[in-house]
């Protein structure tokens, strides 16, 4: 029940990941293909799923997309590819995080713990309902309504919006958001950009000219009060 699912076609990497993560105290399962991994996750949902991008058959991007459709489990892409294109594409497909190989087990474990905290705990701030225009953020109920309609948000998007909502009218830097939402000391700020982009698709009428979630040049993001 729960635990970590590793979808990785390289046999040795998969075996070593399973070994090392088990050492860190996780329950770990491994799948060599996206199809197997998706089936394993459906039969027994995992808390966190590590996905390699270059997989035979259904590739990593598609795998992430399907996993995301199935639920809000933590999806972390672990890939040897480090092109911005790949990173953005994977995050846009629905991944919560992206790590480039080789990744230290301690780092991976810290990320997984942070994600788990975030998924189990919810926002650390006092959960008060924030109303910004026709956008209503209710951290206690875990839901966001736009013009009265509930919005389908992933866990990360929800936390990001809560954080921005708590400080509506204030600019939050990417580093601050990374620190508060992802609980990372430091990390790839593209994570923030991509999630903001995804969030905009759901809350903005025109993503090319955002009205609610605006970029403040050189500083960060702000939810307009």
């Amino acid at each position: 029940m729960g635990g970590v699912l590793v979808i990785e076609d390289d046999d040795r990497i998969r075996r070593s990941l399973v070994l090392a993560l088990e050492d860190e105290g996780y329950t770990v399962r491994g799948s060599a293909t996206a199809e197997d991994g998706l089936a394993a996750h459906r039969s027994e949902p995992a808390d966190a799923i590590l996905v390699d991008l270059m997989l035979p058959g259904v590739d990593g991007f598609e795998c992430v997309r399907q996993l995301r459709r199935d639920g809000d489990a933590t999806i972390v892409v672990v890939s040897a590819r480090d092109d911005t294109h790949d990173i953005v594409a994977a995050l846009e497909a629905g991944a919560d995080d992206y790590l480039v190989k080789p990744v230290a087990i301690k780092e991976l474990s810290a990320r997984l713990r942070a994600v788990r905290r975030r998924n189990r705990g919810g926002p650390a701030t006092t959960a008060t309902t924030v109303v910004v225009g026709d956008l209503e953020i209710r951290p206690d109920a875990g839901e966001v309504r736009l013009r009265g309609e509930p919005l389908p948000l992933t866990r990360t998007e929800f936390l990001l919006l809560c954080e921005l909502g708590q400080h509506a009218g204030q600019v939050l830097s990417r580093a601050q958001l990374l620190n508060r939402v992802w609980e990372y000391e430091f990390g790839d700020e593209r994570l923030v950009d991509v999630h903001v982009g995804r969030l905009r698709q759901k809350i903005e009428d025109d993503t090319a000219a955002p009205q609610r979630l605006v970029t403040v040049r050189g500083l960060g993001y702000k939810l307009v009060r």
Binding site: A80, K101, P102, I105
Partner: protein, 466 residues
């Protein structure tokens, strides 16, 4: 010392040759050619005109002298008066009739002594009965003197002034000289223009070569512009193509190798982590061996990451607004360095249009370098000049020897203080990455002494329009 002395004149000569460039040579050649030609033309024209003018005057002198001599001769006889006879000739200005009779000289205005102006040899010929003519110089300028024998004791002379001709000739000489000077100047100007035109395609070649040296491998020459230089432009472009392909191949190879190393490294890192965690369950020797594996895997991992970072420096810039102060403070904090050491010149815009990842990597590597070899960073300064954004990181270490200041920015070169390879990280790529990233950002990385001890690393990045 001897070698130095021997080299010096060569160096100077080479400098001199270089200074006399093609354009100067073309200009000088055409100017000298034009000067020679126009001078020659002027001299020849002058001589022809002068000959013509004087001959004309001589013919006139000849005709007038004879007719005047006849007038005088007709009056010879008893009661002859030289003054009356000369007066009856009606000579105007420019003509001086002179009569020699019985050894005396007669003139209308005897203020000048005619015998001084008329050469003795001419007198002798005329007294012998031969009419004679000679060109002379009188006080009043050049002249022609014509002598005619009338009787044994009477000879008639007439001095024709050449002043008017001389005046005309002077004017013509002036005009011809000016023309020659003008032609010379025009020749020089033409040379300069031709030189410039001829060199213009070479200037574009130089421009392109400079661009390529600066890393712009897309620079090419347009063979349409200079049809005469098709061969040059074609081979130049071919050369750059080859160069670009080669660089691209090398880059891709380095990237592929680093990439391919990632997967096995991931396995190694995972396995090493398992070994590391279980070290206490191993016996002493296995534990030591496991520790070595763990440390080396860690170093290997850093090396591969660094290599990838270097190959990435060749990719395109991803420009955005970067809040450098925050970025620098954040990186200091992450390394346990007091963020208060980050200073920006007052009043500068600390939002730079730059590639955020590169700027971050530069800061990280400089801070790590200071930590590893310089006793820690003591100041991080951010400032900007008119064309550059500047990052400076000071440390309080031993500094960098002048002869190593260029060397340390090359891959796999370690500073003197870092000869121990004891620590697991520090493959010697950190500063090389800084240099490459700076170059890819249109700038450069340098190091100098920090006043008061230590090293000052400076990275300049080209400022980009917002």
């Amino acid at each position: 010392m001897r070698r130095l002395l021997g080299l010096r004149p060569l160096g100077m000569r080479r400098l001199g040759m270089r200074r006399l460039g093609m354009r100067t040579r073309v200009t000088a050649t055409l100017a000298v050619g034009a000067l020679l030609l126009s001078t020659m033309m002027a001299v020849v024209s002058y001589e022809i005109i002068r000959g013509e003018l004087i001959q004309e005057r001589e013919r006139t002198a000849y005709r007038l002298s004879f007719s005047d001599a006849n007038v005088v001769k007709a009056q010879l006889g008893p009661g002859f008066d030289a003054f009356t006879a000369l007066g009856s000739l009606g000579t105007g200005s420019g003509r001086r009739p002179v009569l020699r009779r019985n050894g005396d000289w007669h003139e209308l205005s005897p203020e000048r002594a005619a015998e001084q102006d008329i050469p003795a040899a001419l007198q002798q010929m005329v007294e012998d009965g031969t009419p004679a003519m000679q060109r002379i110089n009188t006080d009043a300028g050049p002249a022609i003197v014509f002598g005619v024998w009338l009787t044994d004791d009477t000879q008639y002379y007439e001095i024709f002034s050449l002043s008017e001709q001389q005046h005309n000739l002077d004017f013509i000489a002036l005009v011809l000289s000016l023309t020659a000077a003008g032609v010379t100047l025009a020749g020089g100007g033409l040379g300069w223009y031709i030189g410039r035109r001829a060199l213009r395609p070479l200037a574009s070649v130089a421009e392109a070569a400079r661009g390529i040296a600066a890393g712009d491998l897309d620079a090419r020459l347009d063979s349409q512009v200079e049809p005469d230089l098709v061969r040059l432009t074609t081979s130049f472009n071919d050369m750059v193509d080859q160069l670009q392909q080669r660089i691209e191949r090398d880059r891709r190879f380095a990237a592929d190798v680093s990439h391919e190393l990632r997967s096995p490294l991931q396995t190694l890192a995972n396995a090493a982590a398992v070994l590391s965690r279980r070290r206490e369950h191993l016996d002493q020797r296995s534990g030591d061996a496991a520790q070595l594996v763990v440390e080396e895997v860690d170093r290997f991992q850093h090396l591969v990451t660094d290599l990838l970072e270097i190959t990435r420096a060749d990719s395109e810039l991803d420009l955005s607004d970067v809040d450098v102060i925050s970025l620098a403070r954040e990186q200091c904090r992450a390394r346990g360095v007091d963020p208060a050491i980050v200073r920006a010149s007052t009043g500068i815009d600390t939002i730079w249009v730059a590639d955020a990842r590169r700027v971050e990597q530069i800061l990280v590597n400089l801070l790590e370098n200071a930590q590893r070899h310089g006793g820690g960073a003591v100041a991080v300064r951010l400032r900007r000049t008119r064309v550059r954004n500047v990052i400076e990181v000071d440390d309080c270490g031993p500094g960098v020897l002048p002869e190593q200041r260029e060397l340390i920015f090359r891959p796999f070169v370690r500073g003197v203080t870092a000869e121990r390879r004891g620590d697991t990280d520090g493959a010697g790529l950190g500063l090389a990455i800084v240099a490459r990233l700076a170059e890819s950002h249109g700038g450069r990385a340098t190091v100098r002494d920090r006043p008061g001890g230590g090293a000052r690393f400076r990275v300049e990045l080209a400022r980009r329009p917002a």
